[in-house]
């Protein structure tokens, strides 16, 4: 299980990479592994939209399940990964790279304190694998 140490995580299996005042959001390796082959990704908001922590920002479908992706912290959308809907399989092959979903300008950076660090997220994932 790949859990990069420089990211923050949620208990709903999203990651966020914070760089300056911006954050990039995606789905974790654990999530893609549990969902199995991803066949469909829909990114819901468009650039410029203001979203709150917990808002649905994407829907992913695998051959066996459908899942919503929630925004880890509040922010204004500055970019969406337009190429992802055409290449949903990269969620399986490169969850922390090419499969980024959206980039936001953080509007409540304090909410980052609600998130898990890599060690806590690893522990959370292992607790579910028992």
């Amino acid at each position: 299980m790949n859990i990069p140490s420089d990211l923050k995580y949620t208990k709903n299996d999203e990651w966020i990479k914070v760089e300056g005042s911006q954050g990039t959001v995606g789905l974790t390796d654990y999530a893609q592994d549990q969902l199995s082959d991803i066949v469909f990704v829909e990114i819901i908001p468009g650039e410029g939209e203001d979203l709150s922590q917990g808002d649905t920002c994407a829907t992913v479908e695998s051959v066996k399940a459908a899942a919503d992706v929630y925004l880890p912290v509040s922010g204004r959308v500055v970019a969406v990964n337009d190429s992802l809907p055409d290449t949903p399989e990269v969620v399986n092959t490169d969850p922390y790279g090419k499969a980024w979903l959206i980039r936001i300008e953080l509007t409540s950076p304090g909410e980052l304190d609600d998130l898990l660090d890599a060690a806590a997220y690893l522990e959370f994932c292992e607790s579910r694998l028992v």
């Binding site: 066949v39 469909f40 829909e42 819901i44 829907t59 479908e61 695998s62 051959v63 066996k64 399940a65 459908a66 919503d68």
Partner: protein, 449 residues
């Protein structure tokens, strides 16, 4: 005797949910309605009950006993004997998609062919299999559009010339949702051209629904409406009589985003309360928002053609409360009837039936229009149904027609204020020239009374 639960099972279940007695579960039902005394006659033998049911059945007059000119959403068409023969085969005779669908390749193939034929007929990319009837298919289109725009375009404009029962069912479906149904409460004149709906379309409008033909039998080119709806960012749904599509342009060519319809004319007999068939087709880009079953064609591990249920991740059993619809059930057997019917007729056969309907209806309309006291109100292009202004209340005329073994048309005054004495008449390939002439003679008699 089979006991599904022992007394101990029941007690354990009641304890788990924290209820004393089973009757406690019915507290929300008003006491008087909880255990009403049913005034039932004493039990009868099978022989007696069969005789009683037979008596009741004989009290009905069917479209076989009468000459029918009644349509208004359900039509008396000829059904080739092969439709029923195939339907009743044991391998096919189930109302639903089987629970282990891929083992029933024949059923899946039939559904796939049904989808392909309906998609072709409507000019759409994908078609599900299926909904209950034309009314629920419209309600599902409303649902789909609402979820497609994620609640941001909650207004739906229903043409007042859309079937009144379809509009009513859409209201029932959406009663407890934020969807706002408008357009048919006096906002637009039902007899106006479809362009009259354009001023009702705004940025909040997710869907506009029209009939093709509309409830009055009229066939419109909806291109201008489609363009206006798309410009405002909404979708257009067209509810069709599939029989008309044998002759008229497919709604896909007008820019429809969703095509729904009542599939009954395609090999399904007239019956009170159904089962009928809800057609639902849409464009590829909306496939994941569509409810219902979807069969796809693929190859198995030996390279042989095979059929599977596909895109099931959009369905309710996987998406749960996030699904756009809680409909998973379908009208499998009725969809089979439609695919057998369409396959037997073929493209040219369907066109022939459609043409017969068109020409016979126009012959009847012209003949009635020539009668003193009657006026043809259908001035636009119509298919197999038209509106006639009568010299007397429709109910009285229909009573008179029934004495001559004729089932008259639909009384439009029931649904539309200002259309008292206006009758909606349907003519199909089942009505011979003699039938039509008899109708005209009896109508003439009425106006002489």
């Amino acid at each position: 005797m089979y006991f599904p639960h022992t007394e101990a099972d029941r007690e354990a279940m009641l304890r788990t949910i924290g209820v004393q007695r089973i009757t406690d579960l019915f507290q929300s039902v008003p006491a008087a309605q909880r255990f009403p005394k049913l005034d039932l006659p004493p039990a009868m033998t099978e022989m007696e009950i069969l005789a009683e049911l037979q008596d009741l059945a004989w009290a009905n007059s069917t479209a076989r006993d009468l000459v029918s000119f009644l349509g208004a959403g359900a039509y008396n068409h000829y059904i080739p004997a092969a439709v029923d023969a195939i339907l009743r085969r044991g391998e096919f005779f189930t109302a639903y998609t089987p629970y282990q669908p891929e083992i029933s390749q024949g059923t899946l193939q039939a559904i796939f062919e049904y989808q392909s034929l309906i998609a072709g007929l409507t000019g759409m990319d994908v078609c599900n299999a299926s909904h209950y009837d034309g009314a629920t298919a419209v309600a599902e289109a409303v649902n789909m559009a609402y979820h497609h725009f994620r609640g941001k375009k909650p207004r739906v404009v229903l043409s007042p010339a859309l079937h009144p029962q379809y509009r009513e069912v859409a209201r029932t479906y959406t009663a407890s949702s934020p969807i706002i149904l408008t357009g048919d409460n006096g906002e637009a004149d039902p007899l106006e051209e479809p362009e009259a709906l354009i001023p009702l379309v705004d940025g909040q409008t997710g869907l506009v629904v029209v009939g093709y033909p509309d409830f009055f039998g009229r066939m419109y080119d909806y291109s201008a409406l489609a363009e206006a709806v798309h410009q405002a960012g909404g979708l257009l749904a067209i509810s069709v009589n599939p029989m008309a599509l044998g002759l008229f342009k497919a709604p896909g060519e007008f820019g429809a985003d969703i095509v729904t319809g009542e599939g009954q004319p395609l090999g399904i007999p007239l019956s009170y309360g159904g089962p009928y068939l809800g057609l639902f087709a849409t464009r590829q880009e909306y496939v994941r928002k569509m409810a219902g079953r979807l069969v796809g064609e693929t190859v198995d591990n030996r390279g042989q053609r095979a059929y599977v249920l596909t895109l099931t991740a959009r369905e309710q059993h996987i998406r749960r409360e996030k699904a756009t619809s809680n409909i998973c059930t379908n009208q499998g057997l009725m969809a089979l009837a439609a695919v057998v019917y369409l396959s037997l007729l073929g493209k040219n056969g369907l066109r022939q039936v459609s043409e017969l309907n068109y020409h016979k209806a126009h012959y009847a309309a012209e003949s009635i229009a020539a009668l003193p006291g009657y006026e043809l109100m259908s001035h636009e292009t119509f298919f197999n149904e038209f509106v006639v202004q009568c010299p007397q209340p429709v109910a009285e005329i229909n009573a008179h027609l029934l004495e001559h073994g004729i089932l008259g048309g639909y009384d439009l005054g029931q649904d539309y204020a200002g259309m008292e004495n206006e009758m909606l008449l349907a003519v199909t390939e089942m009505n011979s020239r003699e039938d039509i002439e008899t109708l005209v003679d009896v109508l003439a008699e009425v106006s002489n009374d």
